[in-house]
Amino acid sequence: MKDEVTLMKGNEALAMAAIRYGADAYFGYPITPQSEVLEKLEEEMPWDTTGMVVLQAESEVAAINMVYGGAMTGKAVFTSTSSPGFSLMQEGVSYLAASEVPALLINVQRGGPGLGTIHASQADYFQACKGGGHGDYHMIVLAPSSVQEMADMVALGFDLAFKYRCVSMILADGTIGQLMEKVVLPEQRPRRTDEEIRQQCPWAVNGRKGMRPSNVITSLELDDDKMEENNWRFQATYREIEKNETRCELVDVEDCDYMITAFGTTARIAMKTMELARKEGIKVGLFRPITLWPFPEKELREAAKNVKGILCVELNAGQMIEDVKLAVECKMPVEHYGRFGGNVPTPDELLNVLKEKLINK
């Protein structure tokens, strides 16, 4: 099974990678453009092979609470949805974060707000990176820009969630979800045994068998001082994550005069824009954050120190640009270009924008 190159949709790669990771359970509710995750899982019937549970819940609210329950037992559980579905899940996300239990959430974004459209969007950047649910919490937010990364980020997301006892999110979009590309899936790993979970997750609520004091997992703490103490502990974890886990890709930034910052689908489109620009003798580089939270602030500051201007391209009205501006401390012009409602810019469109907003200014 190892190293076999196959063609697969991004959504299917998520499903296959989760089975191969040895995930214990999936709870979800279908919504375009991510329904292939659930469809692929049901087609593969992993309950017969690895023993993984696949359950179509009655709603997104039910699904996230099933994830919450599963996560408390130290099992590797995940869900997937698209924008309106993820809005429904926000209470659960906040509870997961406050309870310090690991889980993997996937949002294959579509155009909003509201029920919106079914095509690609990146308008949930704020929701994913700056909260969404209530309270001071963060998720680790991973932004895949290829089908291979869709597959790879499942294991990465789970591993980081368990390492820090936090929630990981894969923030994809409709285009990457529906796109079919070459992918090499990871090797099949066995699901962890109850004994392994007991060792790795001493906090889990999985039956103490008279061996240890009871574990209690709750997000409720009515004592203000204790709740403040909890918050300090959460914040310490977030600082640790910020220190260790930023990831980004730099393409042709060494000699570039202008830089595009983009993630996910737009980063792929921007790569083509770079090729077109370089053919015209315009030196453009690309900075692609792979973790949206923690945002690779230092890396961007360093990479952008000699550029004349930055164009931040997103499928929204201007969200990541705030982090870009903070990172470079507004030392150079930072312009935004967004398409929304499910529309996606083309490579030549971005080149024209780059000229208009930065080069010919």
Partner: protein, 178 residues
Amino acid sequence: MINEIVIAGFGGQGVLSMGKILAYSGLMEDKEVCWLPSYGPEQRGGTANVTVIVSDERISSPVLNTYDVVVVLNQQSLDKFESKVKPGGILMYDTYGIHKKPTRTDITVYPIEATEATIEMNNSKTFNMIVLGALLHVRPMVTIESVLKALKKTLPERHHHLIPLNEQALNKGASLIK
């Protein structure tokens, strides 16, 4: 060599599956490939289109605005995509139901009578393989052997007996190019 292709037509004409087989054929030859469908309501009637890239180099953007090859199977798609063929590129269209022919002169235009050919073959389901055969005749980006291998890989075993029929359709398509 990079082949940036769009195939467009009515939902149900086999546009998406033709693109998928082309992409799989590229995979059989170890090429870089990607397949990006229009998804959602279009698949259930109305127009459907798919972008396929078959390349010897790493593929950057799966989203394109101009193409080396445009294959259109109805009038709406012809109207929409004629302007998106790169200068020097290829425009192939099925002549059935086309009342407004393409007018560009800086590209190579191949009208093919694919719908008529399905009647000769007495099987309307061979349509997309006839078109693919014609396409690969003018732009041999993958071999017919690779297409047959791809069919074997993508079709469920119970349909493998249809592979010879598909091969006939591919050959029929090639013969439509004068």
